[in-house]
């Protein structure tokens, strides 16, 4: 039970941290922030990898884990890159030629 109560504490403190961290954000950044937070939620990759590691050669588990890893990584890689693309536009030094897209 101590592992559970520890996990619940982690859940509680993580939630409070999340509320505090993004308390005040300029509206300009809401879309990039949503996209960035969304990329972070792809941290489920850790669960996918754990599943694969514990599969012990069971092919259905490996398959599920790999599929799940693919979905999660799609979220992570796509999410971070697309956020970076948006934020790159806010930097003023950007040259005109790079703008098409």
């Amino acid at each position: 039970m101590s592992a559970l109560s520890q996990a619940l504490w982690v859940l509680l403190l993580g939630s409070l941290l999340g509320l505090e961290l993004i308390g005040k954000v300029p509206p300009t950044l809401h879309t990039p922030l949503m996209s960035g937070a969304n990329a972070i939620s792809g941290i489920t990759v850790l669960a996918s990898l754990t599943l694969i590691a514990q599969a012990n050669g069971q092919v259905p588990l490996l398959l599920l884990g790999s599929l799940s890893l693919g979905f999660a990584l799609f979220n992570v890689v796509g999410g971070f890159l697309v956020t970076d693309r948006m934020l790159a536009m806010f930097s003023r030094k950007k040259t005109r030629s790079g703008g098409a897209g």
Binding site: Q6, A7, V10, L11, L12, L13, S15, L17, G18, L19, I22, G23, K24, P27, L29, T31, P32, L33, M34, S35, G36, A37, N38, A39, I40, S41, G42, L46, A47, L49, L51, I52, A53, A55, G57, Q58, L64, G65, S66, L67, S68, L69, G70, F71, L73, F74, N75, V76, V77, G79, F80, L81, V82, D84, M86, A88, F90, R92, G99, G101
Partner: protein
């Protein structure tokens, strides 16, 4: 040995720290980009920490490589190809896939119990992970389809029938959840998967396209919850922290969007599409208007040429017409002519808060010219010309003066204070709120009918033929 045991824990702690710093940095314009990189680095660290902790067979590495290659490449290509105007539906797609990942992990653990028979905590976590993951996935895909225009709002979803359907589905989910611990890999699991997925569709389908950003933001929060639940399933505290942080962030953002649109979360989720439910006088057609003045691009160009201060109010229509580059050309031309140009950004302009800023930044509009509502509203009385581009409800003066209006109380851009207002619009059709806009009938307002991009290009050529800003290259 102690040092080796400690290493993964230290990596995890550093990863959490970097994630927190990343989210914090994302809330400031100057640090946002590096913060995003920091969060990505944290993610890489977390994966690294896990990989050195877990002994992996060659077979496991092979499956990891397959998943990584498929997901990573698809993500890479999607992120580079997708146009900026399609950002909300892209976030929805990514988000749905995150939910699907949590769902699959929970399914794997439930079906094959790789870490031994699941205890009560794991069973509850599996139920939450499946339920939230499935809703996140199917809801996000429906949201994406609606934003892309692939899916319409079916008529039955606007009647109270939908509540009956959704309640039945929720009861089915509950039944599946309660009977699940008795038969981990049996029918209850599949009942839960199917009913949750259908519930995600049933809840999202009735919601109008204009409220979809709120839904995406909420689903984004759900995917955090799903990740945290998956963290309980596989016993990863890092996953729990990160999921909880994202869940909280999504909730805050959802609240911000609701405030900006003067909608409560409850009415978004259970009220159905606003336009469909409200009794609209003229059925959203032109019959409701009596004192409309329309004018040509030429007249509009003459007013612009004579103005000293011009404010553009970009909205949803601008994004749809992809006219942000044409708008930037026009304002450069006017600036070269000595006109002071600014942009008034309503908190929910575009399709998501901040979306309009992204679109205009893409067209190289200087950041300082984008003024938020509270800054620009006192400036309207000394503004010569306001050009409203595809915005409607956010400039409706009834929101301030008419307490019977459904918009009453919503913060709006007070463009009716300006000397002259041009509204560029395709037709007199109602905005998503399905109500008349009193601005259109004011004496200082003239309508310029047409697609935003076509009108802006028309203005450009009119101004050029007048000899305005000759030196500026196209």
């Amino acid at each position: 040995m102690a040092g080796l045991d400690l290493l993964p824990a230290v990596i995890d702690l550093v990863a959490v720290l970097l994630l927190a710093l990343g989210i914090k940095g994302l809330s400031k314009v100057s640090t946002a980009r590096s913060a995003n990189g920091l969060a990505a680095l944290a993610m890489g660290l977390a994966v690294l920490g896990l990989l050195i902790q877990q002994p992996l067979s060659a077979q496991a590495w092979l499956w990891i490589a397959i998943g990584t290659a498929a997901g990573g490449l698809l993500g890479l290509v999607t992120a580079q190809r997708v146009p900026m105007t399609a950002m909300p539906e892209t976030v929805a797609l990514f988000n749905g896939c995150g939910g699907m990942a949590s769902l699959l992990v929970a399914l794997g653990v439930a079906l094959y119990s790789p870490g031994g028979a699941p205890g009560l905590v794991e069973q509850i976590s599996i139920v939450i992970s499946v339920f939230v993951g499935a809703i996140t996935f199917s809801g996000s895909i429906v949201a994406m389809g609606k934003l892309q225009g692939w899916i319409d709002t079916p008529g039955w979803t606007q009647s109270s029938l939908r509540h009956g359907v959704n309640i039945s589905l929720a009861v089915a989910c509950l039944a599946g959840s309660i009977t699940l611990p008795g038969a981990m890999a049996g029918a209850p699991l599949w009942v839960l998967v199917v009913a949750s997925s259908l519930l995600g569709i049933g809840v999202t389908l009735p919601i109008g396209g204009a409220d979809m950003p709120v839904v995406i933001s909420l689903l984004n929060s759900y995917s955090g919850v799903a990740a945290a639940a998956a963290g309980f399933v596989v016993g990863s505290q890092l996953l729990i922290v990160a999921g909880a942080m994202v869940g909280a962030a999504g909730l805050i953002l959802t609240q911000v969007m609701c405030t900006g649109m003067n909608r409560s979360l409850v009415s978004v989720l259970f009220g159905g599409a606003l336009g469909g439910a409200a009794p609209v006088g003229g059925g959203g057609d032109e019959a409701g208007y009596t004192r409309i003045t329309s004018c040509s691009a030429e007249e509009c160009a003459l007013a612009l040429e004579a103005a000293e201060r011009v404010v553009f109010v970009p909205g949803y229509g601008l994004a749809v017409a992809q006219a942000q580059h044409a708008l930037r050309e026009l304002s450069k031309l006017l600036e070269a002519h000595g006109v002071e140009v600014t942009y008034a950004i309503h908190p929910v302009a575009g399709r998501m808060p901040g979306h309009m800023n992204v679109l205009l930044a893409e067209a190289d509009v200087p950041y300082e010219q984008l003024l938020e509502m509270d800054t620009i509203n006192p400036e309207f009385p000394r503004t010569d010309v306001v050009i409203v581009l595809g915005a409607n409800d956010v400039v409706n003066p009834d929101a301030k003066s008419d307490s019977s209006s459904p918009l009453f109380g919503m913060p709006v851009l007070e463009v009716d204070q300006a000397r002259q207002v041009f509204v560029v619009k395709r037709s007199l059709g109602a905005g998503y709120a399905g109500i008349k806009n009193a601005l259109f009938e004011l004496p200082q307002t003239a309508m310029v009918f047409g697609d935003a991009k076509a009108v802006l290009n028309g203005l450009l050529s009119e101004l050029r033929s007048m000899g305005v800003g000759k030196k500026v290259a196209a």
